[in-house]
Symmetry: C2
Subunit: 302 residues, 2 copies
């Protein structure tokens, strides 16, 4: 199960009630921070997310509205006595920025901050543990930018209790079936694995694509994704400005969701010019019905 | 008239509803930002303060909770197309930090950011214009820190209309009286200036002292100040920790206000441990009755 909590869904110009980009992806109570706009630590407190549970941080690009909140958060984790190293996945030259932050503000952190460079031109696994893989997605913005695709791994097969009883399977045979093997009984009959086992749940996936121009390549990379967060900085009436500024319109976000055959679309990264984002939602829903607005403090469960 | 709007009065550890140190000092609709904790730009929007009206910035010291909000604000002023240069008064090595910020995040700002070093061991005028002087106040914290004293200049004297009529003063004599001169009438009588003129208003003053240990020297520097903002990170029961961490207790803040013969005291920079700050207020009021808690969004007029 993947839970995505929106901490901020505004773009660079601040407003009194919206925060710049950041969200928490919670997979089996492991927290991953995706982008870190100003105020992210306070937003975590506001919505009851313990920052000490952070496993890793993924930064899409080095525009301030996606990263200025990270440095205060690093300081606070130090005040709280974090000792576990923290990995930060971000494009170059994040390492240099981190170095100056540590030099001037956090020279005595009680934990290590480790930067892993994300190559924003490649679609590949950049993070992996027992339960998930995180893939980079090349995006098209004004400076090098990566999206991130979180994929749960295929869970272990369960062996059907009734089939175990019916065929009198031994422990050894059950273990083999869990591995996906067909089972040959003592009488020589072979039982295909599919008859014996089932997936306890389907692995889920979540893609974060911000900031970016509309890109058909992105749709191919995330084909079949369960939930897609796609930026929709502008309405279609501002399509030209969207293109020039490396952004998308709400309609374009919906087109990508449609092309990717996504299960659900969340739009965000709204320009401060839209006091009311309902017209953006309507525009996207006309193309892709299963669209919602990313609302701060809301958690979307896949 | 001096108006102080509190944008944040918390200390380093964030809470869901308090912001780190920052405030706007408004003197004749010229805005001065004093400290710039994370979220300061959003707080300005929230409380209707136009960031384009900023005249100058005064940073007390380079702990993150007093400065992390400045960099996003610099970016935003760029997005809004500010062209007027912005002066930032801050201790060393602020210039180096600013240089990094500009290099990585704001290499194309449409306005100049100019750093003026504040010597934190000296009490002297660091900023001056027609209506005010700003003085540095050496504070005692874990790293070099300055407080700031805003003093309105003496306003021009007004000449009493009734006295003008009574003595039949000429324009030349009125101008001389405004300059503070005594006036000799045609009959040889000399009228002392004090009889002819009055101050239209008394010049006001405001002192910001955060972060600091209790310091009797500070009380002498700000003698007779109309409003004093003094940090009160801890209650008196934590006096030892206050001392070790370079902070003050609420009682100590009140003692400084008393010693300085301040008109009014605002306490702030509260540790996150105090969900309820009323006990800190009570503690200070027991020593100095004219004390209030610095509340975010409130404006205190002198």
């Amino acid at each position: 199960m993947i839970k995505v909590t929106i901490l901020g869904s505004a773009s660079a110009k601040p407003t009194a009630d919206r925060h710049p980009s950041s969200q928490i992806v919670n997979i089996d109570e492991q927290y991953y921070l995706v982008d870190a706009g100003e105020g992210v630590q306070q937003q975590m407190f506001r919505y009851g997310i313990n920052p000490l549970r952070l496993r890793a941080v993924f930064i899409s690009h080095l525009h301030g509205d996606h990263v200025f909140g990270l440095f205060p958060l690093l300081s606070t984790l130090g005040l709280y006595g974090r000792q576990t190293p923290l990995k930060i996945y971000a494009p170059r030259p994040f390492g240099e920025i981190l170095e100056y932050h540590l030099r001037y503000f956090d020279s005595e952190l009680p934990y290590a901050v480790e930067w892993e460079e994300v190559a924003t031109t490649e679609h590949r696994i950049i993070f992996e543990n027992r339960s998930i893989e995180v893939w980079s997605i090349p995006l098209r913005h004004r400076l090098t930018t990566a999206g991130y695709l979180f994929r749960e791994k295929m869970p272990e097969l369960n062996v059907d209790k009734f089939k175990i009883a019916r065929y009198g399977l031994s422990v050894k045979q059950i273990v083999a079936a869990k591995r996906g093997e067909d089972i040959t009984l003592d009488d020589g009959t072979t039982i295909p694995n599919a008859e014996l086992t089932y997936l306890p749940r389907l692995p889920k996936s979540y893609a974060y694509c911000s900031d970016t121009n509309r890109s058909a390549m992105v749709a191919r990379r995330i084909k079949g994704v369960d939930l897609l967060y796609h930026e929709a900085t502008y309405a279609e009436s501002e399509r030209r400005q969207a293109k020039e500024r490396g952004h998308s319109t709400a309609r374009q976000a919906a087109e990508i969701a449609l092309k990717a055959e996504a299960g659900h679309l969340l739009i965000g990264h709204f320009s401060s010019r839209y006091k009311d984002t309902v017209p953006l939602l309507d525009e996207a829903r006309a193309i892709f019905a299963a669209t919602d607005t990313a609302i701060e403090g809301q958690t979307y469960t896949i």
